[in-house]
Point group: C2
Chain length 415, copies 2
C-alpha cells in the first residue's frame, strides 16, 4: 500500500514541478470567476457560516456589501449578511484565493492566472496596500474609496498594460524573487519590484492620462506586498491539478477563515479537514498585544502549500525583522520542512542554502510520523471588525487537520 501511495505522490510532485503559472489578464470577478453571482461573497479558508465568522471576516464582508451597494452602512450590511440572501462560499471552491479575510465580491477586479501546462485558471483580487484595508477587516470610507479607485483606475490601467505586453511568466519571476530575499508570503519586496519594472514600460503606452498612470505606479510602489496577490493565485493554479490523484497523500490546499484551519489532500478530493485556527506568535505593532489578535486567517498559506512562504524562510533571513526570531531560526525552519515534504522544488532554489530547492509537497503521513507541523509566515488581524492589521508572525496548523485527514486516507485506502 505504501508503494501505491509513494507512486501517487511522485505523480503529485511532478504535476506541481511542471506547473507554469502565467498572468494572462485582469477582469471583473463576476465575469470571470466560475459560479460568481452579484450576491455571492467569497472568503478565505474553508466554508463557514456568518454566525461562526470572526471579527475581521465579518468586517470585510460588511465592507464588501457596502462597496457593492447592497448595503449603505454597517447596520444594513449586518442585517443583510444575517438574512440568508447572500451566498457565502470559499474562494477555493471557485478557483480563487484571497489574502487574510479574502473577501471577493462581484465588481472587484481580479488577476487572471493560467497554469499553461494544465490549462486551469486561478483568480485573486488586487492588493490594497497597508494600513486600514478590507482584507484585515476594516470597512471605513477610506477603504471603500480605495476599492472604487482600484476598480476604476488601477485595474483598467494594469489590464491595458498587460494586454500590450502579453502574458507574464510568474514561475520564472517567483524563482528570481526567491534569490532576492523574498520568501513569497510575508516578504514581497523583490516581487513587487520585478513586477513594476516589467509592466511600467507598457503602463506608459496605455491610453490613460499621465496622472492616472503615475498614480498606478505610485500605488504599487507604496506597497511591498503588491506581488503577494500574484504569487497566491500562481500557486493556487500550480496546486489545483493535484486534486484527486488516486492514493496521493500530498496536501494540495491549506486555508484559514479566521475560525477554522482547513487542509485538502490530493487523494481525498474536495473534502476539507478542519481544526481551530491558532493565535499567531509574532511581533505586534506599537499599541497592540496578543490579546488583540484574531486567530490565523487567509488563503495566503497557499504559498507554504506549494513550497515557498515559511518553507523558504532560509532564503529570506531579513524577514525575521518582521515576524520575529533570528536568521538561524529561518534556516532551521526551512531545514525542518524537508522532513514533511515529498521533494525539493526544481524552480525555487535558495542561494543561501547552497541553491537547494525549497521543501515542496507536504505529505500528511510525514506530518503525523514526525509530528512536525508546517510553518507559516503570516500577518495578524485585529480580532474586532473594522480595525485592521496589528502585527505579523509565525503560526502552525492544528494537528487535528492532519490526524483527521490521515484517518480518512487510511479508511479510503482500506476500502
Amino acid at each position: 500500500m505504501q508503494e501505491l501511495i509513494n507512486k501517487a505522490n511522485i505523480e503529485a510532485l511532478e504535476r506541481l514541478q511542471k506547473a507554469k503559472p502565467t498572468l494572462v489578464g485582469i477582469g471583473v470577478a463576476l465575469d470571470n470567476i466560475p459560479g460568481m453571482t452579484p450576491k455571492t461573497i467569497l472568503h478565505a479558508g474553508p466554508p463557514i457560516t456568518w454566525d461562526r465568522m470572526s471579527g475581521p471576516l465579518r468586517g470585510a464582508i460588511i465592507g464588501g456589501l457596502i462597496y457593492e451597494g447592497l448595503a449603505s452602512n454597517e447596520e444594513e450590511a449586518i442585517k443583510l449578511a444575517e438574512s440568508g440572501e447572500i451566498t457565502f462560499d470559499s474562494c477555493h471552491h471557485h478557483d480563487a484565493v484571497g489574502p487574510m479575510a479574502g473577501v471577493t465580491t462581484a465588481s472587484m477586479p481580479v488577476f487572471i492566472i493560467k497554469n499553461e501546462t494544465f490549462g486551469n485558471y486561478a483568480y485573486c483580487t488586487l492588493n490594497e496596500g497597508l494600513g486600514k484595508v478590507l482584507r484585515y477587516g476594516a470597512y471605513g470610507e477610506e477603504v471603500i474609496t480605495r476599492l472604487r479607485w482600484m476598480e476604476k483606475t488601477l485595474a483598467p490601467v494594469l489590464k491595458a498594460a498587460i494586454e500590450l505586453k502579453g502574458p507574464i511568466d510568474l514561475k520564472t519571476m517567483i524563482a528570481q524573487v526567491v534569490q532576492m530575499g523574498d520568501e513569497g508570503h510575508n516578504r514581497n519586496k523583490a516581487g513587487t519590484s520585478l513586477f513594476i519594472r516589467e509592466v511600467a514600460p507598457y503602463i506608459v503606452l496605455t491610453e490613460y492620462s499621465n496622472e492616472e498612470k503615475s498614480e498606478v505606479l505610485k500605488f504599487m510602489h507604496s506597497n511591498d506586498h503588491f506581488f503577494l496577490n500574484l504569487t497566491m493565485p500562481a500557486q493556487k493554479s500550480a496546486l489545483d491539478p493535484l486534486k484527486g490523484i488516486p492514493n496521493s497523500s500530498i496536501v494540495y490546499g491549506m486555508a484559514r477563515n479566521g475560525t477554522d484551519f482547513g487542509i485538502r489532500v490530493s487523494g481525498l478530493g474536495e473534502q476539507w479537514f478542519t481544526g481551530p485556527a491558532a493565535i499567531i506568535d509574532g511581533l505586534f505593532f506599537p499599541g497592540f498585544t496578543k490579546d488583540d489578535a484574531n486567530p490565523d486567517i487567509g488563503d495566503s498559506v497557499i504559498t507554504e502549500t506549494s513550497g515557498i512562504g515559511g518553507f523558504a524562510m532560509g532564503t529570506a533571513p531579513a524577514i525575521v525583522q518582521f515576524v520575529g526570531g533570528t536568521p538561524q531560526d529561518a534556516i532551521n525552519y526551512t531545514t525542518m520542512m524537508y522532513e514533511i515534504t515529498e521533494g525539493e522544488n526544481e524552480a525555487y532554489k535558495m542561494p543561501a542554502m547552497n541553491f537547494r530547492g525549497t521543501p515542496t509537497g507536504i505529505d500528511i503521513r510525514k506530518v503525523i510520523e514526525t509530528q512536525i507541523l508546517p510553518i507559516i509566515n503570516t500577518g495578524i488581524a485585529h480580532k474586532d471588525a473594522g480595525v485592521g492589521q496589528v502585527g505579523a508572525g509565525l503560526v502552525r496548523p492544528p494537528m487535528k487537520c492532519f490526524e483527521d485527514a490521515l484517518e480518512a486516507f487510511v479508511n479510503m485506502m482500506e476500502k
Copy 2:
C-alpha cells in the same frame, strides 16, 4: 605612534559611516565635472599615457573620440590620441568614477551625486547595458548610436523625472539592496529594480512622448547593471571626505586602468601607489578563455573600498553563479575581509550573516600584517580593443600597492 594612527582611522571610518550619498540630478560632463574640457578624456584607474594603455581602454577612447565628433573613424581616432592634443586623466582626479574603461567625454550625460553630510559631489556616466558597449572597449556603430540615444533621450527623460521627484537617498537604497541579494558591484538586480520603481511614476509625468518614456523604462529594465553607475559615484562621494586625514592608514581609493592597479591612502593625500593589474579568475562566456582576458580594469572597485562588492558577497550568494565558487566561498570571503578592515558598516547589514555590518575601511597596516588582500568582484574585458565583455570573476590587487603605501606611510610618520 600606533595610537595616533588608530585615532585617525576611527575618524576616517566615522566620516564614511556618516556619508549620505544622494542623487541630485543629471547633467552634461562638460558643464558639471570640474576641469572637464571638450578635449579631455577621463578614464578609469590611476593616470596612464596612451602608449601604456591596454586594448579595451584604447578601444573605449577610440569610441569616445568618434562619439564626440573629434574623429570619424578608428584610424583618425588613434592618430589624434597619439598626437598629444587630447588630455587624458583619471576620473578620480575629477570627482568622477567610471566602470571598466571608465571613458567619460565632454558631451556624455552624468549622474550628479551629492554627499549631503560633507557637501562634496561625485559624477558617473549612465550604464550602457550589456553586450558590445564602450566601457568594455567596443566602439562599433551600435555603440556610438546607443551613446547618442542615451544623450538625446535616456538622460533628458531621467533628468526631468528626477527634477519632478526630488533628490533620491542612495544610501538607504543601497542598504536595502544589500538585504535583497545584491553585493553592489557585480550583482545589481535589486538596485536596478528599486531605482526603476522609484523613478517610474515621475518618468510618466515628464513632457516627453509615451514612446520615449517607454523606451527609457525598457532600457533600464533590460540591464540589471543599470544601478552600478549610481552605486559607484555614491561610494566615491562617501569616500572622498576621507582624503587627507593626517595619520590615517585607511584606503579611500582603489582603481584600475587595465594596466596598473592603484590605491590611495587617507593620510597620504593624492598619491597613487600602483602595481600591475592582475588577470581575473572567473567564469568565461562561451567561446572565450583566460587567454582572451585583459588585466583587471575599472573604477568599480570603489564598491569594495567602501565595504560592499566583494566585501559583501556573504549577503549575495547568488553571485557565485556569475563569478564562480560556492555560497560558502562567498561567506568566507566576507568573513576574511573583517581581518583587514577598520569596522563594520552601520548601514549595510547582511541578513544571512546575522545582520552583521559589512567589513568597511581597509587599513593598509592590516593588509600587510595579515597578507590578506582585498577581494574584488569584477567583469572581464577582452584584451583587444573593439570586442567587449568575455566573463566575470574574482581578483585581488597586487600586494606591491600596499607595500609601497605602507613604506611611504611609515616614512611620513617618522618625519
